[in-house]
Amino acid sequence: MSSKKLLVIGLLASIVIAGFLSFYASSHPDGLEKVSADQGLDVTAVDSANADSALADYGVAGVENERASAFLGGVIGVAITGLAGVGLYVWLREPKSAETK
């Protein structure tokens, strides 16, 4: 398989996971949240300064339909991470001159 094909398949899988499957994820607190609540560690917890931002909690503010909101949140997240991934690519790729040697 060419690396380009692997890249496309990986991206599509990520969109399916973040956009569609995430809707069915367990909504129970994760291990740390659960223990924090049970043991009283969370009494000092405060909301993050950006807790009211448009994309908080992987939804999109103003999109009423929960499924659509979760889909958009997931896909936007994949897109933003993908952009950062392009930045990583530029940083990590060896200079062209080195490759032709």
Partner: protein
Amino acid sequence: MHMPDGLINAPVSIGAGVLVAGAVAVSLKKTKGSLDSQTAPMAGLVAVFIFAAQMINFPVAAGTSGHLMGGALAAILVGPWVAVLVMTVVVGIQALVFADGGLSALGINILNMGIVTVIVGTLVFALTMKVLSKTKSSIVAASAIAAFISVPAAALAFVIEYYLGGNATYDPMTVLISVVGVHLLIGIGEAIITALTVGAILATRADLVDGARKFLPKQKLIIKDSVVS
């Protein structure tokens, strides 16, 4: 595993931030221009995949869920230095864009989910491969073991940080046992997802798996693109 703001005091949060900044600086330096045109895109893909996979909380016990951390997976796929960058990108975007994990807690969250998991995952993978035969199935098994151990290791890091700078009064022993205990369960999920992912890429493009490269016979050089000089 994303800690909110307010749990741990400023000195410990800042200390973790300084540690993370140092680790990221060293990783950036170590990795600049280090990958070829085939492997460099893998870093971005791994970041995207881990971001997506972290959204899937799976049930682990009554009323409790867990999700992939991905540090061990990233370390095996793209090597530990690039993995630190990948995990910093993922956990950073989660906190800054999606308000998942606190802002003042960002250093601690990157440290636990993005650096402790990478270091422990890398070490456990290397040690496990020492005793196993150098085959693809061994690499998958070692990936699973590394991923499994990396999760309670990250949980232990949280317990230590909380011990140093926790803001609430609490019972350290109970917290230690319950945090590490539940993360042993979450580690099973981490192991399964990591083994499936590493296995899938090994089956198609083993040469793109950093952790596998030195254990598998070198593939014949295939030139697919025509070279126009």
